[in-house]
């Protein structure tokens, strides 16, 4: 088991190095000259001499790998460079945004799991009942709703009709509810569908028939055997949704003005503030890959059979 995990960690490191090169390449090839942008944003008429001097000062004239190496070395030490917008270090901005995003993401994850796990299980157990059909239809619809649309509907309903919540979230607990709900609804639908499918597949296995034939209590069959055996898969399902959650949070944070990393990156895209965007991609990629590795490890600990597959 440790051998496999060591191999996965080695793979992860290679993956991150390639990601960082690709990210840097993307910025390197991106249209627009940061030096030009910077000078014109200061409101001065730009001459060629000034432009060359500014490029020199910002280190834009050096070769690709020198610039990449310098950036990567900084990132390893937790320094993501200076913002092109206001010359402030990027790292503290990213850190602050990330902590707000984690609050939002965890809230929506918990919210969706609280509903999805019981609904998924009950729906699988009572297959083809009215309850099951209702859950299936609702989760199908939820899965088809883009989260920006949900947020607009929720905003209209709660903020304008009912006047219950502030429209601009700005980091308060009260403001957390609507963005978290917007993210949770489609995610909850997806979880419910997947958990239902997983449990139902497990319930059709021979050992379940065997247990029932021997007169084991149905609740014991369900909790001690079926649920236990599905746990690994459920962890994987959750880990795979983290990526969608990250993409979704960019949209939702922008709509509700939640001060997370997603809103930060959207503001930076408008301002062509490349260091922030690079940091964002790298941080999100790292978290996603790490979460998936973690879920793999958890799966193996719960269910040692996984290793043989």
């Amino acid at each position: 088991m440790t051998g496999r995990i060591t191999k996965r960690i080695a793979e992860l490191l290679v993956l991150l190095i390639v990601l960082s090169i690709l990210t840097f390449l993307l910025m390197y090839l991106a249209p627009g000259d940061p030096a030009q942008k910077r000078l014109s944003s200061q409101g001065v008429a730009v001459t060629k001499e000034m432009l060359d001097a500014e490029r020199e000062r910002m280190g834009l004239a050096r070769p690709f790998f020198v610039r990449y190496g310098e950036w990567a070395w900084g990132v390893i030490r937790g320094d993501f460079g200076l913002s092109l917008k206001d010359d402030m270090p990027v790292a503290p901005k990213l850190r602050e945004g990330l902590s707000n995003t984690i609050v939002l993401a965890s809230a929506s994850l918990i919210l969706s799991l609280v509903f999805a796990i019981p609904l998924g299980i009950l729906s699988a157990v009572k297959k083809n009942s009215i309850f099951d059909h209702t859950v299936r239809i609702l989760s199908f619809i939820g899965n088809s709703l883009p989260n920006f649309l949900i947020s607009v509907i929720l905003m209209y309903f709660f903020c304008i009709w009912l006047d219950l919540f502030p429209i601009i979230a700005s980091g308060s607990i009260q403001g957390l509810f609507l963005p978290a709900l917007s993210l949770a609804i489609p995610m909850c639908a997806r979880f419910t569908r997947q958990i239902r499918a997983e449990i139902q597949k497990e319930l059709e296995r021979d050992y379940v028939t065997g247990l029932r034939a021997r007169g084991v209590k149905e609740s014991d069959v369900l909790i001690k055997n079926v649920l236990y055996n599905c746990m690994g898969h459920i962890f994987t399902i959750i880990a795979l949704q983290i990526g969608t959650l990250m993409g979704g949070s960019v949209v939702i944070e922008t709509i509700f003005r939640w001060p997370g990393i997603g809103k930060l990156v959207m503001d930076s895209i408008t301002a062509r503030d490349y260091p922030v965007i690079m940091g964002f991609v790298l941080i999100m990629g790292t978290i996603y890959v790490a979460v998936n590795l973690l879920s793999d490890i958890i799966c193996q600990v719960i269910d040692p059979r996984v290793e043989n597959e």
Binding site: F140, S144, V152, I160, V250, V251
Partner: protein
């Protein structure tokens, strides 16, 4: 054919008919639209739905109904285009990798793994942001990751049939690799890959309208549902119809295509 299968077949036909209707509406939207979707009119700003403008007018006095119709063309055409391109490129790469194997296979599949290893929307937002908006940028941004699922699928199916006797016979009778791939492998693996294409339509549509909503997709004034919702959001309080109708159109379209994908998938597994 079992009763269950017959029931699923009926559902499948129903879903396919609904999808076909949507596509036909999108194709003929230019003819159906009662008004010019881009004509602004200062005297008709934010008029509620009426006989003349059945979906009302937006902030610039443009006919929302016409814009929703034309938007259907933008959204559906862009989605189909992206799925079709990813399907062709992904299937081709998958078949080549599966059939020939070797170093190229290793490199391409590693690359596909890499693309799958990162959240699609995060990659798309970064790429689209870098390219500075525009529908082409958004499609490219989603395409960077979209081809991988086709390539993986095509590759694994190619691997499972490449040692079948009929392929060996074709090879022994002197047929070239390209001929075998196109005439023997493609017809035998195309079905599962096509089903995958069908299930990708809904997700792709969500992606495209999401990017447009963020301002990273179509450029104003072009009509697209995501950007219409984003525009209408600012005055939802006084003119809710500017959001309601494009939103309903988006939801209905995604539901129809997701349903079609689901039913076809179920039919195949039955």
């Amino acid at each position: 054919m079992s009763r269950e299968k017959q029931r699923l077949k009926k559902k499948m036909i129903f879903a396919a008919v609904c999808a076909a209707i949507l596509v036909i509406i999108a194709v003929f939207s230019g003819v159906i639209a009662p008004n010019d979707p881009y004509a602004t009119n200062a005297t008709l700003i934010r008029k509620p739905p009426s006989a003349e403008f059945i979906f009302g007018t937006d902030n610039m006095g443009r006919c929302v109904f016409s814009r929703v119709l034309i938007g259907a063309r933008t959204t559906i055409a862009a989605t189909f285009f992206l799925v079709a391109i990813s399907f062709v490129i992904g299937t081709l790469i998958g078949m080549l990798c599966g059939y020939y194997g070797g170093v190229v296979d290793d490199i391409l599949m590693r690359f596909a793994d890499l693309m799958l290893a990162f959240p699609q929307m995060v990659v798309a937002i970064a790429v689209a942001g870098m390219l500075g908006g525009g529908l082409f940028g958004a499609l490219l941004a989603l395409g960077v990751t979209a081809w991988t699922s086709f390539a993986r699928l095509a590759r694994s199916h190619t691997l499972s049939i490449k040692n079948e006797p009929y392929i060996t016979v074709a090879r022994l009778s002197g047929k070239k690799g390209a001929y075998i791939i196109l005439h023997h492998i493609l017809p035998n693996i195309v079905e599962p890959v096509l089903v995958n294409a069908l299930t990708q339509i809904g997700t792709t549509m969500i992606g495209i309208s999401g990017l447009s909503f963020l301002g990273l997709g179509v450029v104003a004034p072009q009509a697209e549902w995501g950007s219409m919702i984003s525009e209408g959001r600012a005055y939802i309080q006084i003119a809710p119809w500017t959001v309601l109708f494009p939103a309903a159109a988006t939801v209905i379209t995604i539901i129809v295509f997701n349903y079609l994908g689901d039913v076809v998938m179920e039919y195949k597994n039955e």
